[in-house]
C-alpha cells in the first residue's frame, strides 16, 4: 500500500510537565518505509516525543498523526475529544515499541513473551501465534532460546527478543527508544544488525539513538533535538559531516 499519507506527521507538537516545557513546536514527517533517527543530549525531549507517538505520553499542543489518524484524540466538528482507553489501546497495537531497558516479561519464557500480545490482543490461535513467534525468533538469531527465561539471557539477546515481541503484532511503525544504551559495548552490534535488517525490509522506523554510525549508515533522515526544539535536520551524512548549528557541533564533538 503506497499511500501518500505520511506514517507520522507532527506539526507544532508541544508537551510540558507542569511549568517545564519538554517539547516546543516539534514539526516533522516520517514517510512510509522511512527510517528517522533522532539524536540529542539527554533531556532534549527526544524520548518524550517518541512516547507521544504511541500515546504513552499525552500531547498538550499541536497535531500529531499516525497513518492519518490523530493520536489520542478524535476530531468531531472541529472539536477534539479524548479517545477512550480501549480506542487508545487499539491505536497502539499497530505501533511497535522497543525500550532502552528491554522490559521483557520476566515471569514468561521467551516464546511466551512473544506470543502474549498476539494471543490476548489479536486473539490469534495459540498454534499460529507460536509458529509466527518461532519464525521471528529464528530471524533475530534466537531460535534456540525459545524456552529460556529473559533473566538467563544477555542484554543483547533480551533486546532482540523485545524486537521480535514488537514485530509479532505486525506493526506498521516501529519506535526504538535508545535500544542499545543499556547494553555492554560488545553486545551493541548484534542488536543494530537486527535493526539494519529490519530497515532493509522497508519497515518504517523512528529511532532515538546515540549510535552515530548506525544513524549515518541506516537513517534516511536525521533530526537533532535540544531543549525541546528541533535544531537541525536533514540527510544524516550531510548533517553529521557538516553540522551548521553550534549546538550540534558541540554535541557531536562530545559523542563522536
Amino acid at each position: 500500500m503506497t499511500s501518500t499519507v505520511p506514517m507520522v506527521r507532527a506539526s507544532g507538537v508541544a508537551k510540558s510537565y507542569g511549568s517545564h516545557q519538554v517539547l516546543t513546536d516539534i514539526s516533522l514527517e516520517v514517510a512510509s518505509g522511512e527510517v528517522l533517527c533522532i539524536i540529542g543530549p539527554s533531556g532534549s525531549g527526544k524520548s518524550t516525543f517518541l512516547r507521544c507517538i504511541n500515546h504513552l505520553e499525552k500531547v498538550d499542543g499541536g497535531r500529531l498523526e499516525v497513518d492519518g489518524h490523530l493520536v489520542g484524540y478524535r476530531e468531531k466538528g472541529g472539536v477534539l475529544h479524548e479517545i477512550s482507553a480501549k480506542d487508545a489501546a487499539s491505536q497502539r497495537r499497530d505501533i511497535g515499541m522497543v525500550f532502552q531497558r528491554f522490559n521483557l516479561f520476566p515471569h514468561l519464557t521467551v516464546l511466551e513473551n512473544v506470543i502474549e500480545a498476539p494471543r490476548r490482543v489479536r486473539k490469534q490461535p495459540v498454534a499460529q501465534a507460536k509458529e509466527r513467534a518461532r519464525a521471528l525468533l529464528d530471524r533475530v538469531g534466537l531460535a534456540d532460546k525459545v524456552d529460556a527465561y529473559p533473566g538467563h539471557l544477555s542484554g543483547g539477546q533480551q533486546q532482540r527478543v523485545a524486537i521480535a515481541r514488537a514485530l509479532a503484532m505486525d506493526p506498521k511503525l516501529m519506535l526504538f527508544d535508545e535500544p542499545t544504551s543499556a547494553l555492554d559495548p560488545e553486545l551493541v552490534g548484534e542488536v543494530l544488525d537486527v535493526m539494519k535488517a529490519l530497515a532493509a525490509d522497508g519497515m518504517t522506523m523512528v529511532v532515538v539513538t546515540h549510535e552515530m554510525g548506525f544513524a549515518r549508515e541506516v537513517a534516511d533522515r536525521l533530526v537533532f533535538m535540544d531543549q525541546g526544539f528541533i535544531v537541525e535536520q536533514g540527510d544524516p551524512r550531510e548533517v553529521l559531516a557538516a553540522p551548521k548549528h553550534d549546538r550540534l557541533k558541540s554535541f557531536l564533538s562530545k559523542v563522536l
Partner: protein
C-alpha cells in the same frame, strides 16, 4: 588459549596449591550452646516431674480426642475459606485502589478505612447480629417488592457468618499487601504491555499481578497463620465448634483447663507447620524466571552466539498471517 589451560588440571599446577588453613574457632558458641541445653533439660524435667498442673496424662488423653481433631479440622476450614475470600476481595480492592477510576478508588479507600479501623472481634459480634438487624435477605430492586426473600438465619448458619466476618476484615489487610506487591513491579512492565496494545485490565491480570505474587506471598503466609489463630475469636458470632472454643468447652466440664490449652496449642502449631510447607512450594512456583543465579553448570554463556540475521524478509511476508484488525 591452549597453553593457558584452565580447568581441573590447573588446580594442581605449581603456584595454585589449595589453601590449607586452620579454620577460625568459635569457643563461646559451644559454651552458650551447652548452657542453653542444660537450662532446657532442667525445664523439661521440672515440667514432667514436679508440675502436676500440666497434667500430662490428660494431655495425652485429649490430644487425639475426636472432638478436638474435628474442631481442628473446622478451624482449618474457617481459615482456608476466609483466606480465599480475603485474597480474592483483597486483589479486587487493591486493583480498584490503583485504578485510574476515581469512583473505584474511593470505594476501596472507604472499605479499607472501615474494616481496618474497627476491631475484628467487634465486627464478628456485628455479623452475629445480622439476623437481628436484617431478619430477611431480599433480592430485588430498591423500593419494589422483593423478587426473592429468605430468612437470614436460614440462609447463613453461624459457620458461614464467621467466614464472612473474618474474610471481610482480612480483605482490608490483604488489599494493602497486594497493593504493595503491585507497586513493586517495575513501571516498565506496564508500559511494555500498554505499548503492545494490551488494555489496563489485561496488563494487570497477565503481566503485573503474576509478578507481584512473588512479593505478595510471604506476607500472605503471615496472614494465613495469623488467621488460623484469629479464628479463635469466632466465639463472638457465636460459633463454638472451632479448636479454641471447643477445648475451652471441654475444660469447662472437666475443671482442668491447662492440659486442654496445651492440646489446642499443639494442634495450632501442627497446622501452622503444614501451612508453612505449602507456602514454601508456592514461593518456588512464583519465583519462575527470577532465579537468575541458578544457571546450570556447563550452560553456554549467553554472549556466545552471534545473531544470524539473514534479512527480515519473512518478517514482512508473514505479515498477513494473523487476522488483521484495522479500526
Amino acid at each position: 588459549m591452549s597453553d593457558m589451560s584452565r580447568g581441573p588440571a590447573a588446580q594442581s599446577a605449581p603456584g595454585h596449591d589449595p589453601i590449607k588453613a586452620v579454620p577460625l574457632r568459635h569457643p563461646w558458641r559451644n559454651v552458650i550452646g551447652v548452657v542453653l541445653v542444660i537450662f532446657l533439660a532442667a525445664f523439661v524435667y521440672d515440667a514432667a516431674v514436679n508440675r502436676t498442673a500440666y497434667d500430662w496424662p490428660a494431655v495425652g488423653k485429649y490430644l487425639f480426642d475426636r472432638r478436638i481433631s474435628e474442631a481442628a479440622f473446622i478451624t482449618l476450614q474457617l481459615t482456608v475459606y476466609s483466606m480465599i475470600g480475603a485474597i480474592v476481595l483483597g486483589i479486587v480492592l487493591a486493583v480498584m485502589r490503583l485504578s485510574p477510576n476515581p469512583i473505584f478508588k474511593s470505594i476501596a479507600w472507604v472499605y479499607i478505612w472501615i474494616f481496618r479501623g474497627t476491631p475484628v472481634y467487634v465486627q464478628l459480634v456485628f455479623w452475629g447480629l445480622l439476623s437481628t438487624i436484617y431478619p430477611t435477605l431480599d433480592i430485588g430492586l430498591p423500593f419494589l417488592p422483593p423478587i426473592a426473600q429468605l430468612p437470614t438465619d436460614q440462609a447463613l448458619n453461624t459457620f458461614w457468618i464467621a467466614v464472612i466476618g473474618l474474610a471481610l476484615n482480612e480483605a482490608a489487610y490483604m488489599s494493602e499487601i497486594v497493593r504493595a506487591g503491585i507497586l513493586s513491579v517495575d513501571k516498565g512492565q506496564e508500559e511494555a504491555a500498554t505499548a503492545l496494545g494490551m488494555n489496563w485490565a489485561l496488563t494487570m491480570r497477565r503481566i503485573v499481578i503474576p509478578q507481584a505474587m512473588r512479593i505478595i506471598i510471604p506476607p500472605t503466609g503471615n496472614e494465613v497463620i495469623s488467621m488460623l489463630k484469629t479464628t479463635s475469636l469466632v466465639t463472638a458470632v457465636p460459633f463454638t465448634l472451632d479448636l479454641y472454643t471447643r477445648s475451652r468447652d471441654i475444660s469447662a466440664e472437666t475443671f482442668n483447663p491447662i492440659p486442654l490449652l496445651i492440646v489446642a496449642s499443639l494442634w495450632y502449631l501442627a497446622t501452622t507447620s503444614v501451612l508453612m510447607v505449602g507456602q514454601y512450594y508456592l514461593e518456588k512456583r512464583f519465583a519462575r524466571g527470577i532465579d537468575r543465579v541458578t544457571v546450570k553448570k556447563g550452560a553456554k554463556l549467553p554472549q556466545g552466539d552471534a545473531p544470524t540475521v539473514t534479512g527480515l524478509a519473512g518478517a514482512k511476508t508473514g505479515q498477513n498471517d494473523g487476522p488483521k484488525e484495522n479500526r
